[in-house]
Amino acid sequence: MKRLTIVLSLLIGLSMLLGACAPATATPAPATAATQAPAAAATDTPAVAAATNTPAGPTAAPATPTTTPFPVASCQAGKTCVRWYVGLGTGTNEVQIPVEQEVVNDFNTSQDKIQLILEIVPNASAIDTLSTEIASGNGPDIIGPVGWAGSNAFHGQWLDLKPYISKVDTSIYNPALVKWYETSEGDVGLPFAVYPSALFYNKAIFDSAGYNYPPAKYGDKYKMPDGTMVDWSWDTLAKVAQALTTDKNGKNATEAGFDKNNIVNYGFTWGFENHVNYVGSFWQSGSLVAADSKTAQIPDAWKAAWQWTYNGVWGDQPFIPNNNYEQSLNNGGNPFDGNHVAMIDNPVWYTCCMTHVTTDGSDKSPADWDIGAMPTYNGKVGGRIDADTFRIWKGTKNPQAAFDAMYYLETTGVQKLIIGSAAEPAPYGAFPARTADQAAWLAAKKVAFPAVQNWDTLVAGLNYPDSPSAESYMPNFSEAWARGKTFYSLIITSPIDLAKEEQTFQTDLQAIFNKAQ
């Protein structure tokens, strides 16, 4: 009997030992983390939005896969380990991960005290995973790039960086951008990336139909093939998109006999903007929560935008791919890669890799895309601007080391992450927040994408922020946000009674808001 007990306890001891041998991150979290409840109610409504969305469907293999696109590293003994969590915003694309790993390696070789560990989580489950990590006291140190939706989902979890920021030079930024991050939780970040939006269009598809490209200047009219000049509105866009939507027989969606079950090219997609708040905001800024911060509502302009989208997908003359098409033929929801969609309304994310997979699948064709003005609703451009940065979790055990690593990413790292070079294009399709970097960024983009003419149109997109932001505060934010994403998936998935589903959505949203009280 005794022997059995000894064997048992030895084995249990052994397994505990093996578990405990796992390095520092396996140890219990500091007490501060355990006692801090993530506050359910955030009070700030940020003026400008930020990206939580990344190109979900990545692209072809890098020509020379020297670094693994799916890194897993363990903490080395004797170093301060800092985990960098990527997934809430951009950064999980197949093209992006190797460059992120390269920047991490650069940082790790630049000094010998801190080891930076990259942690890549799929965007769609990034909020879920981070919640679990934070709740168990094992949150990562650096989180980003992350926008306002990410910050709203984790309100109360961010470290106030004031004592660290005060030691570095902030004059390199536009002061307005620095002020953005001075929130009720303290100074939660330094400016890193800004994402104006634009209408990206596939020139080859316009050419094959003989249609003019969308206007490059905001306020310009659009010239139809018959020479008439019309306002560049969402209705006009729909008409053009229908003419560019072709079936297998070369008939387009405006013609009789068009076969909507065998579509080869589509006129338009929201692409990675797969959330009802984004779609709504491109028409007109608004919010799903009323001014009292607790009543669910749906702005009329958003209903109009959703109806327009629904008709585009399920109407008799469709021009927006439904979910089946989006996920299968369009290279897993990546319209740039798939090269079968004429227009995409998007923030600048995809200026990282505006290419498409060539037919033999071995390489990528250079960009055949350009940038046009976003259309108007009731004569006004809705627009949307994201801003991503890095943040530090307040439960971090090594705030100084985390800040040092983060500062490296935001200064030295910018060169590879946002600006890039001709040989190695930047993985983040973002506009640099640091004023001094902006000229270099434009120069690098012009080299990387010689086909793109209208870079000025992109910069002009900065004049059309969404206010309130598409990602602004809602009670019980992460659940409410997830519900909106689910609702968008319903709109592009199946023919439905949209008005009834909007009612259901609003009821659920109200129930979710009520839970916060």
Binding site: D128, T486, L490, D508
Partner: protein, 333 residues
């Protein structure tokens, strides 16, 4: 449970007090040997169950101290649950609440999960089948494939545009517009999820097969003498004899049904929760998200106890029906 799992009657129920020294030593040794399970049961089952119950009367988030008595809120969570549209809403014309999602799926999954393995067991038990052993092994084999891998295989076969199923339907003359969207289509998602899990039938198939082989051959012979055809032999001999196995599998499937959520969780790591459009927001997925994602520990516990009670009611109801159709050899009248 006694009906389901027969216990051999061993030993007489003595009380500890009037045990002899030998019996007492046997008692001590027995308890010592089963102590790992007793400790494990108390620590990992009984205590957590009670804790879940206690949490459901409190207002706790994961980061709160569960021992804080000021967090008691009485029946508040249960009142909230009764009003929770995301659980109850039947919405025949729209996306349903999570309990109805689960039931709608179960209405397909449970019959398939019982009848299909029964049919295959009958087939591979058929003496006319050549290579019985081979077929038995092969029909069982996919059961050992990790479900994360098997759902990606089936999701691929069911891909609306490129999957072999739809390509075959197209070749058979089904118009493209009528092709099912399977896991992407709110109208087809439940049959599609049943197919995703179809490789899990191996276990039920083998237990039913073993049940069929335990049927004494003289019963078949007697039935034949009475002139029973093959269907009658199944209905009056085979089915009654394997009905306890069927019942056992039925109970397991019902318990598994209400806990079903790993497939949509793993499959939709790159999609909106409950994709498509909330049609796969199963009750247990809603529960999982309430606790692990939104960290609402108390409401999660309330959902868990409600689930436990629902399963209990359904199980008890099934046991009540058992006396009408489950046949136990020992209870011949």
């Amino acid at each position: 449970m006694e009906n389901l799992i027969r216990l051999p009657k061993t030993g007489s129920p003595e009380t500890i007090r009037n045990m002899g020294p030998l019996a007492r030593r046997e008692f001590r040794n027995g308890l010592l040997f089963i102590s790992p399970w007793i400790i494990g049961f108390l620590v990992f089952t009984l205590f957590p169950m009670l804790a879940t119950l206690v949490f459901s009367f409190m207002n706790l988030r994961l980061t709160d101290n569960p021992l804080d008595p000021s967090k008691f809120v009485g029946l508040h969570n249960y009142a909230a649950l009764l009003k929770d549209a995301q659980v109850w809403n039947i919405r025949p014309d729209s996306t349903p609440g999570s309990l109805w999602v689960t039931i709608r799926y179960g209405l397909i999954a449970i019959p398939v999960g019982i009848l299909l393995p029964m049919g295959i067991a009958l087939l591979v038990n058929n003496p006319a089948l050549k290579g019985q052993n081979f077929f038995r092994s092969m029909f069982y084999m996919p059961y050992i494939v990790p479900f994360v891998a098997s759902i990606f295989l089936w999701a691929g076969v069911l891909n609306p545009e490129f999957g072999w199923v739809n390509m075959t339907l197209l070749a058979l003359g089904v118009p493209r517009s009528d092709l099912p969207g399977w896991i992407n289509d709110i109208n087809w998602v439940y049959p599609a999820y049943v197919l995703l899990g179809i490789w899990g039938i191996g276990n039920a198939m083998l237990t039913m097969l073993a049940g069929m082989q335990a049927v004494p051959t003289d019963l078949y012979d007697a039935a034949k003498v009475d002139g029973a055809g093959s269907f009658a032999r199944f209905a009056y001999v085979t089915f009654p004899m394997i009905s306890p196995v069927v019942f056992y599998n039925l109970i397991l499937s019902v318990v598994a049904l209400f806990q079903y959520f790993l497939v949509p969780l793993a499959l939709n790591t790159g999609n909106a929760a409950g994709f498509p459009g909330g049609a796969t927001m199963f009750y247990n997925l809603y529960l999982y998200r309430t606790f692990f994602v939104f960290q609402n520990m108390s409401y999660g516990s309330t959902l868990a106890w409600a689930l436990f009670i629902i399963i209990l009611i359904v199980t008890v109801a099934l046991f009540a029906t058992a006396r009408y159709w489950v046949y136990y050899a020992g209870e011949r009248q």
